[in-house]
Amino acid sequence: MIRTTPFHERLTELNDQQLYTHWSGYLSALRFSHAPKHEYFAVRNAVGIFDTSPLFKYRITGPEALDFLSGVVVRDLSVLRPGRAAYTLWCDDRGFVMEDGVVFMQSDNELLMTAARPLLSWLTSHEHGRRVVVEDVTDDYAMLAVQGLRSRDVLAGLVPEVTELPYFGQAEGKLASVPVTVSRTGFTGDLGFELMVAAADALTVLDAVLEAGAPHLMRPFGEEALMTLRIEAGLPLTGVEWHDSRTAWTDHDRVTPKELGQGWMLKGVRDGSRRFIGSEAIRRELVDGTSRWATTGIVVDWQAWNRLHRDNGELPTFDEQALGWEQWLRTEDDTQVGYVTSFCYSPVLQRHIGIARVRPELATAGTTLHMETTLHHSTHMVAVETTSMPFFNPARKTAK
């Protein structure tokens, strides 16, 4: 049976659409009002909250917790300190990405890791006698993302710890007398925080946040708005930008961290100084230059877009809702050289943007390519240019 999150009881009262999708067995709101664009703008220009409770959560404790996890995930965790968090991928032994998540370091021997898919047996199978305990604590906690321009203003009066929190920092605090973990993390590419709270206390925390947020025009946002936000932020999404290598049928659906545009995570891999699951395969990929793809942003030529529509008797469309399918990228001579995995109109950038995968030699920013699009039930081409990501990257995201 479909479950509801600890915040659902209250959030559903604020949802005049009652449109939900399923996320890891939970109901997850698609939108709260008739126009998800308002929810989108709430984040970019005020503040929004998003219920991320369905994320799987694992607690890893013991004197060798960090050592253990370092040998499992892609990111170099040796630099992690208590009070800090890190975004990471993890791969299979062929160096293909399985999933992603955030590792929170609570103390020297306690870590918490979020994941989009269940992970317990895989994690424990890699313990190899280390002194660690890995537990699934998914149901123990609710998680609330408080994101956007005013997120700090809203939370400052509730958990003063947020005012000092650096990007990807985390702290323990009390919110409405309830213990919470607050971290400066999120999936919107904006200034933002996430609150982790014991499931039983979820509503107390939510009510306090809602009350503090109201004067700042806070809105809950759903998955549709989140999709636009995370595309603008250039953040890849599992199931969209790639498929969990364990369940992919062919290598067409698999990507390596480098192919996914996350090569920055691979410090110490090329020279073999860092080992984790899949690192050897990735090392060979780096040394031999065998990456099949490079991930890049694309921006549609606005004049070409307008012309295409007007020449066909249509008014140009500017839809911030992400397309639900891929579009192919071609060169001038019509060879397919890539595909767009996520595509939408960005209201803050006033441009159609997309996350794409192209042949590595074409990923240099400023390369002109042509994207397939459909109009009047047939295929048309529109010029795009490759660009670096994030598309939208406000200074406030990481600023003190």
Binding site: H34, A35, K37, H38, F41, R44, N45, A46, L149, R150, D153, A214, P215, H216, L217, W302, Q303, N306, L315, P316, T317, F318, E320, Y345, P347, V348, L349, Q350, R351
Partner: protein, 548 residues
Amino acid sequence: MSETTATSTNGRTGTSYDAIVVGGGHNGLTNAAYLSKAGLRVLVLEQRHLVGGAAITEELRPGFNFTTFSYALSLLRPEIVHELNLVQHGFMPLMMPGDFHPTGDGDYLLFGDDDDQNVEMIRRHSPRDADAYGRYNHDLDKVIETIQPLFDNPPPNIFGGNTGRDPDDQADIAWLLKHLGSVDRKTMHDTVRMLTGSAADLLDDYFEYEPLKGYLASSSSIGNRIGPMAGGSGLVLLYHKMGEHDGHLGSWSFHKGGNGGFTQVLARAAQSFGAEIELNAHVDHVLTRDGKAIGVVLADGTELTAPIVVSALDARRTFLDLVDPRELPDDLVDNVRRTRYRGTSSKVNFALDGMPEFPGLKGAAPFGGFLNIGPTMEYLERAYDAAKYGWYSDRPFIDGALQSVIDPDMAPPGKHVLSCFVQHAPYQLKGPHGPVDWETERENWADKAQAVLEEHFPGFGKLVLQREVVLPTDIEAKTGLTEGNIFAGEFLAPQMYFFRPAPGYSQYATPIDGYYQCGSGTHPGGCVIGSPGRFASQRILRDQEQRG
């Protein structure tokens, strides 16, 4: 909000420029940005302490930001956003959450972005109007598709005579005829009805529910001295429907920080291309020699030279004040003299202690964004009646924007600003014994507006922390817009397109060599659009090129 009210301008570094733009409204700034982008050394001269003209935001009370004049954005041409890299400088149009229209009987219409919900809202009152609504919108969109290319291109010069016509003009005319020739019968007829007929006639053809017609007709009398029942009101309605937010026609947005936020973005963009902006610089007149513009003289006597002078002011100022009309052809001067301005628009802007409450909505108010108070067409027409005889409405029509619901930076947390466009208040008051000074009526007029708000939102008065009253005379005094006409010349068919600002002078040049016009008095006219500034820059650069 310091970002939008603080005018960080670079000032003037010299006395001689390639081009001088008189007036730092949005059109002057747009024009200057394009000219500097093309490599010209450009100076903008603005008489006030801030740029923006009729598009400004002022913090009149700590934390409360007032959009003194214009209060919403949507007609701005997307080309300008891209060509001037405005996003990079902070361009951010926020989508208005909706339109709230009390129906006068305690009920309401609330329109948002979901068409199905809008239709349901209408069906609640009239099942017949529910499907008419879709038909109406589609028909209007077709008219817009017809008109938009005219709107988005400078008007062709049709007055050249048939022999020896300039080949460019010939091509423009051919383009226009071809375009019009492609329009289907119904749409062409609808177009002419809209351009010349009344909003009331049009709406009566589709709808039966009076408050729905009142809601739709409201934009037909904005800015003009006209009621929805008069011929010509269709044109203003059409104009407003042409606005969009990210391609959604008829949907208006609010720029982050108000239209003052927008003009600050423009100023930054212009400066990034190298334009200089000098504030507190009132231009007294344009210097000419042998039929050529050679510079300007400021009120303090300073002379600045440039072979190109662009007036971003309305036609009265451009042709009758800045230059000696004796230097101009009679037909131009005559036409400019008889252009109708007759402002009847006023603003009453409020700082509020909380959200106004509408009894029909009980409890949490889901409205926000636009508040439209003019329940029926008859109400709108009556709100206009007095203006015909030189007096203001007893029960005015209000188009308000509760901007703090969209942009938290407009007011302190929990507080609000409501920017109200209130009509009709004629520029020249006429009592039984002759002209009446507006100053004696200023607060009475604002009281009338506030009483209307009180009627629909009981307790409104108790929320008012501060009120700013902007009369047509204030508009004129502060921006220079003649008689306070918000469009820089009424939107009437004989004052549009190739007749704007005068037949034969609609292509941004003037009879004085090197003297150009780029204000809202030129095609396509008023509103925060930017096209006059952009088209004029194209004309100037083309003339430059031809001169070599």
